[in-house]
């Protein structure tokens, strides 16, 4: 053997290392396969399969119990009998089967022969025709062949048919033996039908060993049970900044029961989606195949892991729970996070654009309304909401251009110090002495600013010549009038809180003079030409009474509040700060020195109003074209998270938490910061409840720049657009404060105990009244129902607004607009006579004429004057109304004279209900006013 070579190290030890390394490597390779193969969603799907299996088992159990055991016994017995009966004849049966089989062979042979001969026939025919064509003598031989073939063919065909007939007969007789048993078995199947189906279903669902193997790593391309479920949406896209990527929603991988009705009470993630008729169902407006999930809920649809899909917890507790259960972590940088469930409605606005209210999105609509009422859209530009001066937006605060004629300077100072000290329900927010301006130095600065704003407003106000109330006015009468004449349609007052569209009528005695209030209620536009307060057409006496009542209410603690001193040094320092923005300190001091004393407060006032942005909500002289100071909120819902300044406040770093905190206390983000007075946050503090803040947060989250292709958006046709224009006007002028209209109940309608004395329901007005009349009525309301104390106000609509409203009513009722007028139907004298007869018979005039007699019945029985019919009502509508009033207006007191379309009067016009109705209608169109009723214009 060769010389033993020297060793460098122990081979045996290295073997051990080798073995160790191999084992560890193998294990780590298994680790790789496991890591790649094991997925959260597979576990979830297994759980779902278990759930379904349990359900199927329960169904099977129920099906089993539902099976009629006796019947089964009976049938089984019958089957057994049939079987034994069959056995006695079994030999015969088998003989017949054998004969049938023999016949089969014969038939096959015969058929073969037949088909061969047919082929020959075809061939001979071909050759014969060819040769005949070319006048070849061979044709003759083929002709002979053909002729000889025919009889043979016929014979074989006959044979074949005979054999087939025999076989049929044999088979039939064989069947006779077993037919009874077959029938009985069919019956048994029918009884067990449900159970069988349930069993089949269970088998399909149940997880078996074979299925588990097919789910194993290398084999799961064949027929896996566990697989990713996805919805590919061609028309919707995810915005990845530099590319738009087709949405692919894989949510249904885990949310397996989301569109099936059976899982309402299943645990998450299998729970059924609420309201399947509105979302997800294939007949719903949002079918899941076209919309998917992420377009409404947000999140990362491409992922199938709980964390990476950017689920957002509802609150801290759920966040903790998720951290434990799913090792959930907030995705720091993914900016399309899922909306928390309480803000899902924010996503509706993506597609439902250009509408006043999004159907069924009550939270979003409330948020929008709040944003408009509180003036958010005045200060913060939001595209589509805040075009001031257009129909989309109006200044939410009163006009201050004539304020010197309304209040005195001291009142303005006290008001600015704290608006809620005058009236707790005011919508005016608190601007001064907030959380970031409460230090003693800042308070002094605030006082100086308040004084200067008041001075400026008073100085730059025009004066309006006010009317003097001619009477002293009676307080009690005034209170009654406030309750009855319609003030409560917009205002809270006289102890009634039904509407709060306008300011609450309280404490006015501490604010305005009798002359001002009298001028205002008689003609609001005289004082403020852009006001939304309409003219109630009050008489002088009524106005004086109302003035007396309203001025009797005072707020003594407000009046007694001391006026804080506005220190001159503080004022001067602030003026210097302003001047220093354009010049150096020494120059500023010189400028200040040369400023006359009387002008100093005015100067500071102008600068303060510009700084605080008062002019965004109020019209103020000198600030006509200045841009509002608020940040633009058009895309606030898509704003980068790091652009929100959380300051030092320890809240969750999410958009919704920041927005909610901001609405709760706008100045809080200055806490802990060192800032000069003029650098501090300026947003005022609104008196919002927690629910209002939540609604507003939903609204703000809805302001995104997400791109939804036009095909997927909810597009409005021309009529819908006109309806939306009308809805905007309706919300601007608060028609729903009095009237039930367009799906909303009227405020005063709800409050009235006697519905007959409430403002009328105007649903369906478009199909009821003529457009020309409606136009004239809205322009200048006339009396239709003299017993109503409430006045329909004069709104002084512009021509465009009138057109909009007429079209709105018409299109809501699916009618076409026609200002042409409606032809009075031409009727024969006979018909008119019949109409009058029925009119008298039905005693229409009893309710439809207001006189002391009818007034005794109570206002719910009274009805409009029929003399108005000709110019007011549409002829077709009158017919429908007479036929079945309840169908048009539920709970109306108008009797239905034609129940089930049958006439109670059989002797006129052959008892034909249709003819009679027409006759009444035609008569009404010729009806003239009689002397007994003369409704006075109110």
């Amino acid at each position: 053997m060769a010389k033993q070579s020297p060793t460098l190290y122990s081979i045996a030890k290295t073997f051990i290392w080798f073995a160790l390394a191999s084992i560890i490597l193998t294990l780590s390779l298994f680790g790789i396969v496991y890591i790649d193969h094991h997925r959260e969603w597979k576990d979830t799907q297994k759980k779902f399969i278990k759930l379904k299996t349990e359900k199927a088992r329960e169904e099977l159990k129920a099906a089993n119990q539902g099976v009629d055991k006796q019947k089964i016994e009976g049938i089984s017995k019958a089957i057994a009998e049939a079987e034994s009966a069959f056995r006695t004849h079994e030999k015969d049966y088998e003989k017949i089967l054998a004969e049938s089989a023999a016949l089969d062979t014969k038939i096959t042979k015969a058929r073969g022969r037949y088909q061969d001969l047919k082929q020959f026939q075809d061939s001979y025919r071909y050759f014969f025709e060819e040769y005949s064509l070319h006048k070849d003598p061979k044709a003759a031989s083929y002709d002979k062949k053909l002729k000889s073939l025919e009889p043979r063919l016929g014979q074989i065909k006959l044979e074949l048919e005979n054999l087939e007939k025999q076989k049929e007969e044999k088979d039939a007789s064989a069947q006779g033996f077993i037919s009874k048993e077959k029938e009985l078995r069919k019956e048994l199947d029918k009884v067990l039908d449900e159970k069988n189906l349930a069993e089949k279903r269970l088998k399909n669902i149940e997880l078996t060993i074979a299925k588990e193997i097919l789910d194993a790593p290398m084999l799961n391309f064949l027929a896996p049970t566990l697989k990713i479920q996805q919805i590919v949406l061609e028309d919707l896209q995810d915005d990845y900044h530099f590319a738009r990527v087709q949405k692919v929603d894989r949510c249904t991988t885990c949310h397996l029961g989301i569109d099936q009705k059976a899982f309402e009470s299943a645990p998450q993630p299998f729970k059924t989606h609420p309201d399947l008729d509105l979302y997800l169902g294939s007949n719903s407006p949002h079918p899941v195949e076209k919309f998917g999930c992420t377009v409404c809920h947000g999140g990362n649809g491409h992922s199938a892991s709980f964390k990476d899909t950017a689920h957002t917890p509802r609150n801290q507790e759920q966040a903790k729970e998720w951290k434990n259960k799913y090792s959930w972590k907030e995705l720091e940088k993914w900016d399309a996070k899922m909306l928390p469930l309480n803000h899902t409605q924010a996503a509706c606005a993506k597609c439902h654009t250009n509408v006043v209210e999004v159907p069924k999105a009550d939270k979003l609509n409330r948020g929008r309304a709040l944003a408009e009422t509180n003036g958010c859209v005045n200060c913060h530009k939001i595209a589509g909401f805040s075009l001031v001066g257009t129909e989309s937006a109006w200044k939410s605060g009163p006009d201050l251009r004539n304020i010197a004629s309304k209040v005195d300077k001291d009142w303005v100072v006290r008001w600015l110090q704290d608006p809620t000290s005058f009236r707790a329900s005011t919508k005016m927010p608190k601007i001064f002495h907030l959380s970031n301006t409460s230090s003693p130095e800042d308070r002094e600065r605030n006082n100086a600013v308040i004084e200067s704003i008041a001075v400026y407003l008073m100085k730059h106000s025009s004066s309006v010549e006010l009317l003097k109330p001619p009477f002293a006015g009676d307080k009690e009468r005034g209170e009654k009038l406030v309750k009855e004449v319609g003030c409560l349609g917009c205002h809270t007052g006289a102890g009634v809180n039904v509407n709060d569209f306008g300011p609450e009528l309280s404490a006015l005695g501490s604010k305005v003079t009798p002359e001002w209030l009298y001028t205002w209620v008689k003609d609001p536009k005289r004082f403020s030409k852009d006001t939304r307060m309409p003219n109630m057409r009050l008489t002088d006496e009524q106005a004086s009474d109302i003035v007396a009542y309203l001025l009797s209410q005072k707020n003594d603690s407000f009046e007694k509040t001391s006026l804080p001193e506005a220190k001159k040094e503080v004022r001067d320092e602030m003026i210097l700060t302003h001047l220093q923005s354009t010049m150096r300190r020494t120059d500023a001091e010189k400028e200040l020195g040369s400023m006359p004393e009387e002008e100093k407060f005015e100067y500071l006032g102008k600068k303060s109003i510009a700084h605080q942005g008062c002019y965004s909500c109020h019209n103020i002289k000198g600030f006509e074209d200045i841009k509002p100071i608020g940040a633009e909120l058009t895309f606030e819902g898509s704003k980068e998270l790091h652009q929100f300044d959380f300051g030092f406040i320890p809240i969750e770093h999410t958009r919704q938490d920041w927005i909610a905190q901001k609405l709760k206390d706008p100045r809080i983000f200055d806490q802990g910061k060192v800032k000069a007075y003029y650098d501090k946050l300026r947003m005022p503090q609104f008196n919002l409840s927690a629910e209002e803040i939540d609604d507003l947060t939903t609204f703000i989250l809805s302001l995104t720049n997400s791109h939804v292709p036009l095909e997927m958006q909810r597009r409005l046709d021309l009529k819908d657009q006109k309806i939306e224009k009308g809805r905007l006007l309706v919300s601007k002028h608060n028609c729903n404060g009095c009237h039930t209209l367009d799906g909303k109940t009227g405020g005063l309608w709800t409050w009235a105990e006697d519905k007959g004395s409430a403002p009328p329901v105007i649903d369906g007005e478009g199909s009821k009244v003529q457009e020309k009349w409606l136009h004239a009525f809205l322009k200048e309301p006339t009396t239709i129902r003299p017993w109503l104390t409430t006045h329909m106000p004069t709104f002084d609509f512009s021509e465009e607004e009138l057109t909009t409203l007429v079209e709105y009513f018409a299109y809501l009722a699916h009618e076409e607009v026609s200002y042409k007028g409606y032809e009075t139907p031409v009727a024969s004298a006979e018909k008119l006579g019949a109409g009058k007869t029925i009119f008298d018979k039905f005693q229409c005039a009893k309710c439809h004429q207001v006189n002391p007699e009818s007034a005794k019945m109570g206002s719910s029985f009274l009805a409009p004057d029929l003399a108005l019919t000709k110019h007011r009502l549409k002829p077709e509508w009158v017919k429908k109304w007479i036929q079945d009033p309840q169908a048009i207006q539920e709970d109306t007191m108008m009797p239905g004279f034609f129940p089930d379309g049958q006439s109670p009067v059989q002797d006129i016009l052959e008892g034909d209900a249709g003819q009679q109705i027409e006759a009444i209608r035609d008569y009404l169109y010729t009806y003239e006013k009689t002397a007994s009723d003369d409704p006075s214009k109110k």
């Binding site: 070579s5 020297p6 060793t7 460098l8 190290y9 081979i11 290295t14 290392w17 080798f18 390394a21 191999s22 560890i24 490597l25 780590s28 390779l29 680790g31 790789i32 890591i35 990845y240 900044h241 530099f242 590319a243 995705l331 940088k333 993914w334 900016d335 980068e640 790091h642």
Partner: protein, 360 residues
Amino acid sequence: MLEAFKEFVNGVSSPVAIFTSATIVFILFVSFPRQMTAKRMSVPILLAVLGFFGVGLTDEHFRNIVTTPDNVPIVGMIFIFGYFTWYAMKKAVENDRRIEKGEPTLEQAETNEKVLVFPYLIFIEFVVALAYAIVLVVWSIFLKAPLEEPANPTVSPNPSKAPWYFLGLQEMLVYFDPWIAGVLLPTFIILGLCAIPYLDRGTKGSGYYSFKGRKPIIATYLFGFWILWNLLIIMGTFLRGPNWNFFGPFEVWDVHKVVPLLNINLSDIIFIKWLGMGLPKLWFIREAPGIILILFYFMAPPAMLAKTAFKGIYKKLEPVRYSILMMLLLVMIALPIKMYLRWAFNLKYLVAIPEFFFNI
């Protein structure tokens, strides 16, 4: 106790402190290599470093930064490079001891023993390959490559860091003009490394670990590699945070941290601070002091040293190679010099010519 330690570490951490202490450790290492590589010194040092990491990993912020999948290799780099440097020096010191005693070097001693390639090379290589595969597999299971959200062009990450192999240069950008730090210095690094074989033709000490015979060259190289390259990478990875502010190892990376930067140019120091007159209008007058200083720095020391300390080297290398060597050395030393000038005097640029966008 732990908090106090962290506060202390944060308090003493600063670019000056780290650079200076690293340089001191380096000088000790090349001056007393035998003592520094002995078990008595190296084991405690290793334990101290491991201990520091161990303690540090209990801190959430430290952990966040050190265990980021991108930064884990840099942590590994510290240990791996450290190990190989220590190993080489240990062997070198051993060889020097043997040469002194007249014994054969380790390599020579090994040459006399020959073993078969298989199994002694192949087998152990195979086992090592298996171990390597295990490391890769386990690494890929536990440290996944981050797939972050789609890039948003309007949001730049803060801090924006270069890949690790450029972090040294990014650190240099703090002290130098971008032209210098981004173009000139990398060029010199590359050219310098290419030039080494032509400058160092000495055969002494090649083929076996040795330190004594090649002390200056090895020391220079180790200085450039460890202090001017690795240390800056480590600083750039772990100690530079948002806005390229310096943060101690246990400091939170606060994006809002504002540190005043009050650096002034040499021309400002000379003409405004010392002489009290205004800055001259013409740039060559204004920057004349700086230009003269730079020229002096590059021309005087080589000439002076050729006559004195580097006489032998000058003779060996001949003028051309000598001047190239000196140029490279001077550029290399210019880095720490400029850094100390910045730290000590808030010096921004020695020569500042904004008219041509040229600053040194």
